[in-house]
């Protein structure tokens, strides 16, 4: 849901600052230059929040607020005063008419956003786009850890990814980084002194910029009490030390809702290539199998009819791999897709040892498999079209 925020201020400068402050959030900014315009726009658009100045020509903010609160259709709209008109008595008098908050100018943009975030559930703009982000897209990951060796381990373990891993040693530095930008994911060590991890977590959750950012807890496995507390307060995931980079990468991808299908599937000319990585652990195979049916279906839908199943990178065969290969071949047959297998000497030899896999035929390279498919399978409609043109 896209929130509507109405700023009523005779100063164009303030309206520009408001627009600037909410630039990174999924909300629409509406503008009015005085109370009369403000009431008209409020009635027409029913904004989710109104930021209201006091001193304005034509109709001032107090009059607009009074009229708004006496209108049954508009009185529920939350109003936050944003004005240079302060002083205890003034503030109390205006607050009595019915305002949700009161900011006296001068003001910091962060404070404005933070206070609005308490009234409406502001979401950063990139959150909606996260679904379409892939594992090969850059991302900004912040690690708040007082032990430099752990930061180095994480940086080294994820160095093959396009992610930028930034490490800071304290809660204050973490907050500073988050005030300047919005990391895509934050890892906080529970070993920060004085319960710093939990304080930082609460502060980040109170800030609309980081309210929805996945936050992981880094901990030692035996610290069960801390682990329980982290789960209770709502950390997105737990990462235990010593850190397993594969597990961390997988959890990060999941938390950021990244499309990881490109790890296993790629369309190469008129052929879908399914490739299992060297480390095809249970979690990797589970992830690959999620994409299996949609990718094969999409291949047919796009007008292609060839699939290469490449398990060359694997060092050995195990039941999980056999199971997913059976599943893939079965789906290919159901969808009338022509497929070919590619394996290395070790895998081919291991397949000969199992009753169910003995008859499988392998090619030595993806190119060989493609050439074989080109001979056996009829050309795809797309290829035919290309030939005609």
């Amino acid at each position: 849901m896209r929130y509507k925020l109405l700023t009523v201020d005779d100063s164009k400068t303030v309206r520009i600052i408001v627009r600037k402050a909410f630039k990174g959030f999924d909300c629409e900014i509406l503008e009015a230059v005085n109370g009369v315009e403000g009431l008209a726009i409020a009635a027409k658009t029913m904004p989710d929040i109104i930021l209201l100045d006091v001193t304005m020509p034509v109709m001032d903010g107090v009059e607009m607020l009074t009229k708004l609160k006496s209108d049954p259709g508009l009185k529920a709209i939350p109003v936050m005063m944003l004005t240079a008109e302060g002083g205890r008595e003034n503030v109390l008098r205006i607050a009595k008419i019915g305002v949700r908050d009161y900011i006296v100018k001068p003001f910091k943009e962060e404070v404005l956003v933070e206070k609005c975030g308490r009234i409406i559930d502001l979401k950063p703009l990139n959150e909606g786009a996260a679904k379409s982000r892939s594992i090969f897209d850059p991302a900004d990951i912040l690690v708040v850890e007082d032990k430099p060796a752990i930061i180095q381990q994480i940086q080294s373990g994820l160095k093959h990814t396009p992610w930028k891993i930034r490490g800071v040693a304290s809660q204050g530095e973490g907050l500073d980084v988050c005030s300047k930008g919005s990391p895509d994911l934050i890892l906080i060590s529970l070993s920060l002194p004085d319960d710093g991890a939990f304080t930082l977590f609460r502060l980040l959750r109170a800030n609309p910029r980081t309210k929805h950012t996945p936050i992981f807890a880094l901990m030692v496995k035996t610290e069960t009490e801390q682990q329980q507390e982290a789960q209770t307060v709502g950390f997105s995931a737990m990462i235990t030390k010593p850190i397993d980079p594969g597990e961390l990468e997988s959890k990060i991808a999941k938390a950021m809702n990244l499309d990881t299908s490109q790890r296993y599937f790629s369309l190469e000319s008129d052929c879908l290539v399914m490739r299992l990585p060297e480390n095809s652990s249970a979690s990797v195979l589970a992830e690959a199998s999620i994409y299996l049916k949609p990718k094969l279906t999409a291949t047919v839908d796009a007008g292609f009819n060839k699939v290469v199943i490449d398990i060359q990178p694997l060092k050995s065969l195990h039941m999980g791999v056999i199971k997913i290969l059976f599943q893939a071949m079965q789906l290919c047959r159901e969808l009338t897709l022509h497929y070919a297998l590619v394996g290395n000497a070790q895998i081919i030899a291991e397949c000969k040892g199992f009753e169910d896999t003995r008859t499988w035929t392998f090619h030595e390279s993806v190119d060989d498999a493609k050439a074989s498919l080109a001979k056996s399978a009829p050309p795809t409609p797309v290829a035919q079209l290309a030939e005609v043109s």
Binding site: D10, S11, K12, T13, V14, I16, I17, K20, V54, T55, M56, P57, T83, A84, E85, G86, G87, R88, E89, N90, V104, K105, P106, F107, K108
Partner: protein
């Protein structure tokens, strides 16, 4: 009801010093300091506010138990800098948008400064309200108060630029 504090020269100085410091630190991210009598700028690029140079002057009044008017004088170059800082515009964008944006930005800075100044008066027992800002700009002009007002002038060094606060207060009858 708050205890009414007499509006002395010292109260005025404290209030305007706090107002200028707070507004320019928060909105422009620049530190300001009140200059003492006879103090000159150390900054080498300082260009003093001279009447023949282009100036932008913001004015906001306050009316109620205390009545007055504050003028804030800006050198045009500094007014442009403040506008860019406030709005996030580049010099090029500022050029495209014309003087109206600068006038509005200086009006708003003056509004915030006078607001902070007069809010302190409100809390000291002088309830009053702000008026709508206005702008005077040009070269070679001076603004003179009417006879019934007391005048206090303070110079501020804001990141190497001069800001002059000219405060006119209505005399008690």
């Amino acid at each position: 009801m708050p205890v009414v504090v007499e509006i002395t020269e010292s109260v005025i100085r404290q209030n305007i010093e706090r107002a200028i410091t707070e507004v320019f630190r928060t909105m422009i991210r620049a530190e300001s300091s009140l200059m003492t009598a006879g103090e000159t700028f150390a900054a080498p690029d300082y260009a003093p506010l001279e009447p023949h140079r282009p100036q932008v002057v913001g004015t906001v009044g306050f009316i109620g138990s205390a009545n007055g008017l504050i003028y804030l004088y800006f050198d045009l170059a500094f007014a442009r800098f403040c506008t860019c800082q406030l709005t996030g515009m580049t010099e090029g964008e500022l050029e495209e948008n014309g003087d109206e944006v600068i006038n509005d930005a200086i009006g708003e800075l003056t509004n915030m400064t006078v607001g902070t100044f007069k809010n302190a008066l409100c809390d000291a027992g002088y309830p009053c309200k702000l008026t709508i800002p206005s702008i005077v700009r040009g070269t070679n002009f001076s603004i003179e108060p009417i006879g019934a007002a007391t005048r206090h002038i303070f110079n501020f060094n804001c990141a190497g630029h001069l800001i002059v606060a000219d405060i006119l207060l209505e005399r008690d009858e």
